[in-house]
Amino acid sequence: MTTSPASGTRADDADDADEADDCTVAVAARATDLTKVYGQGETRVVALDGVSITFRKGEFTAIMGPSGSGKSTLMHCMAGLDAVTAGSARLGDTELSVLKDKQLTRLRRDKVGFVFQAFNLLPTLTAAENITLPMDIAGRKPDRLWLEKVIETVGLAGRLSHRPAQLSGGQQQRVAVARALATRPEIIFADEPTGNLDSQSSAEILGFLRNSVREMGQTVVMVTHDPVAASYADRVVFLADGRIVDELESPTAEAVLERIRRFSTGSSHG
């Protein structure tokens, strides 16, 4: 449970969140009895089976679990990318399950940032244009000072006019992180952000994400299956078969690995 030392920089955001669960810390997103079912009849798959979880503001949460555990589904539902079958998914004080596509799109644009495994940059745009794309979509002028700070933080100052094809994988993902940070979203969802990167680039990207939480007070939720990546988080949530099976605060890579090992043996017994 780390409270951001730099929370003052985003005080205006924190003020709205009065529905504090833990009395002291505001909630960025919350799932309550979240259920997601795919298909029907024989092909019916329960991806999420009554998941309840709270993502606190200014916290870096990692979601782990084996393939098919529902970790990506949880993230997609919380990010307003996928509709929920039952239960509630709230982002700030907005209930996502009742929103229409258009409202969800607006919500993602204004309140959510994304970092994908495959970078997902537009090859026709320069790095700078990719970073400001969400603002362009929203038709807003970017906050110059903030933008410069973000660009400086991710170390892209010399590469702003480059196209994605002229950048390395690590650099491309830095652009993606900058894009996510640029709008100062309420929450950033990162889906295996280091899955396509070498270890050095991975460390850099994870460092940026952690620093954004520590220094800028950003809220980050990251899906990963890499214990080392998870160790950058403030807390790790373990999913299996659509349920939350464990949680670990201030994890280390070893501790995470240890937990995973325990599940696999545990589940093999069960």
């Binding site: 997609h76 799109t105 495994q117 026709t124 969400p134 362009d136 979509i137 094809a165």
Partner: protein, 859 residues
Amino acid sequence: MSRTALRNVLAHKARLLMTAVSVMLGVAFVSGTLVFSDTLGTAFKNQSAKSYAHVAVAISSNASGSNVGGGIRPKARGLAAGKGFTQQTLDKISKLPGVASAVGRVSGFAGAADSKGKLIGNGWSNTGANFAPGPDGKDPRYTFVAGSGPAQTGDVALDKDTAAKGGFHVGDPVEVATNGPVKTYTVTGIFTTDDGAVTAGGSLVLFDTASAQQMYLSPGHFQEITAAGAKGASQQQILEEVKQLLPKDGTADTQTGKQLADAQAKQIEDSFSVMSTMLMVFAAIALFVGIFLIANTFTMLVAQRTKELALLRALGASRRQITCSVLTEAFIVGATASAAGLALGVAIASGLHTAMSGFGAKVPAGPLIIASTTVVAACAVGVLITMLAAWLPARRAARIPPVAAMTSAELPASAKSLLLRNTIGVILTGGSAGLVVAGAANGDSSGRWPVGIGAFLLLIGLIVLTPLLSRPVLAVVRPPLARAFGVCGNLAARNAHRNPRRTAATASALAIGLTLITGLSVLGVSIGRSLDKATVGNLSADYMVRMAGGMPLDPSVANEISKVGGVTAATALELAYIDIGGKISAVTAADPRGLAETVQVSMVTESRSPQKALAEGKVLVENKTAKSRGWKTGDVVRVSYPDGTKAEVTIGGTFADNLVLSPVVMSDSLLAPHMGKPEVPQVLVKTAGGASAKMAQAIADGLGNNPALSVMDRQKIRNTFGGLINNMLTLMYGLLGMSLIIAALGVVNTLAMSVFERRREIGMLRAIGLERGRVKRMIRLEAVVISLFGAVSGVALGLFIAWATGRTISADLQGYVMVLPWDRIAIFLGLSALVGILAAVWPTRRAARLDVLDAIKIS
């Protein structure tokens, strides 16, 4: 490998559908044209043979005043005209040993009026002829379904269709218009016939022989004699016998029935062959445009299957096998589409057949002729075009390295440099543009070939160069688009030049059509304007009176009109074909004073009034003709009149091009002694008060409200002369619309492929907050940008070619000035944008429906 090819075709049905449709349309065009012309040709040939079945030999005279609507006598005009055949000649021929019977014919214009006083038929095909009963009282040419043939003055018989259209029965009165005043006749019979004039959709009015001779030639004379052979006598034999009886002065022309049937069939076929050729040209254009679409599709398919093809290579397939596999796919698509196209073509042909009958053209019934050559040609064209277009993509597929199977699917869209292509394009475009300019610089018809060839090469050069051009153009377009449509506009413009080759091929398909449409429009409108100047511009008359269908007027018409109150001049413009200086020339003969009042003859080489020169018995020559014949004012030339008289005339001056007049103009009094009955195609009328509805009615009344006569004011004259060009343009637009449809299919395909390739990007954009509506707008804008890019380059090229072509025709068409029909050009550009929007409908829907989660998942 062939199984792989078949599987691939089946797996990419939707994507190949557009390709198949474009091939199918082209093949349908080709096969439809072939089937249609074969069917008609055969039917007409059969019919011609039938309609001349009872004619062993026909002897025709070049007597004047013998405009026959149908194709009875395809005679060459311009030979010295005789007075026709006398009854004695007819009697002599009928007594020949090989001849069973001989009939004298005389024919001309005649049309029945319906109850509202309107002419039944269009004028061109209204024929009148004599009913010539044999000793048995029957005329073998006509079969009566009611009543009998006309026996005396005042009687007529009508063909069945005309009688049905006018609701006439035997005994009814009927108003019949001929070149002279309208008269009321009594219907004595209704008949059917194989006469070409009727079977081609015209009307036929039969008169008794004496009346017809009186009307069309002169009493006791025939224009034509047809002899039926006695048993055992060959047509050739009779022909020889007949020839002995005829004068050798070249006024009579003899032909056997078979020759006539063949000639008629050929004439009809020729008139259709112009249409067939034109349809074939448009089919070729459609197929040419289709090549771009096909090549694009296969390029995309190969790019999309890079991994798969690389895997085949890794598993040991040779390059040749890969190429063959892609070409086999092309073959399957081409063959399937050709088969469908052939079926569609046959359907179109039979539809056209029905439609033509529906429009009143009597097309002889006959089976649909699907010649084996048609099937072979249609399929060969379809398959070859498809395989040719797929050849380059197939080669490219073979160059995919096996290692591509293991590496990421993210291959750069177009890694290959455009340097070679651009170099070729620059050289080709520059060279051909130079050729066009050089051809145009001459300013006369000698530049036609260089301009024509240059224009074609320029089109190719531009197509080669389009990828290079797309960059600056799209760079210019982007800022305003981004300003107008924000991020969608910006992304649309960038996406449009992401794959320059593909954009270029898509835009080129549209550019070809628009080049032709723009070029033809500019030329059509410009020529129309200059024709307008040459007709109405030279006319001081208020009205032009003409016979429907360009038949000659009765010489009395001018006289009748001059009696109408308010008419200050009614000038008959007589037309004659006279041998002048050893060459037949069309001559206008008119009263010099009347001509001066109704036509502005602007003299080029002679300042004296044209009226005076004509009154002195001199002739005036059109400047262009004088130049080509080497005549100068004051020259004396030899003239040989239709009646055989030889004389000399002085050239009194030359005048500027004038479409109202023939190249040679002389006084009517100079010509009169040498003509039997003057041929008057038109009478010009000048009135005191100018044109008005009342005046027009007064003139019509003065002419007995003859339904076959049209009193045209200046606007109507304008429409008559310019109308043909407008009709042609409309037809061209219709046919070129086809190439636009194929180009639109190309846009659909390109966009569908772009959406497929960029589904992850679109998914990301949706994830970070781009609404469905704006995703759609982005793709729609891309389509519009590509379409307009093609359209603008097409229009620009079309204007350039029209300018150059205009230069080459300006010498022959005085007063030709290039007119830019901006309104039409704006419509073309608007339509092209619309093509883009419509073509985007399906791809945008797919893009908007894209599941965000599926799209952003890593492939």
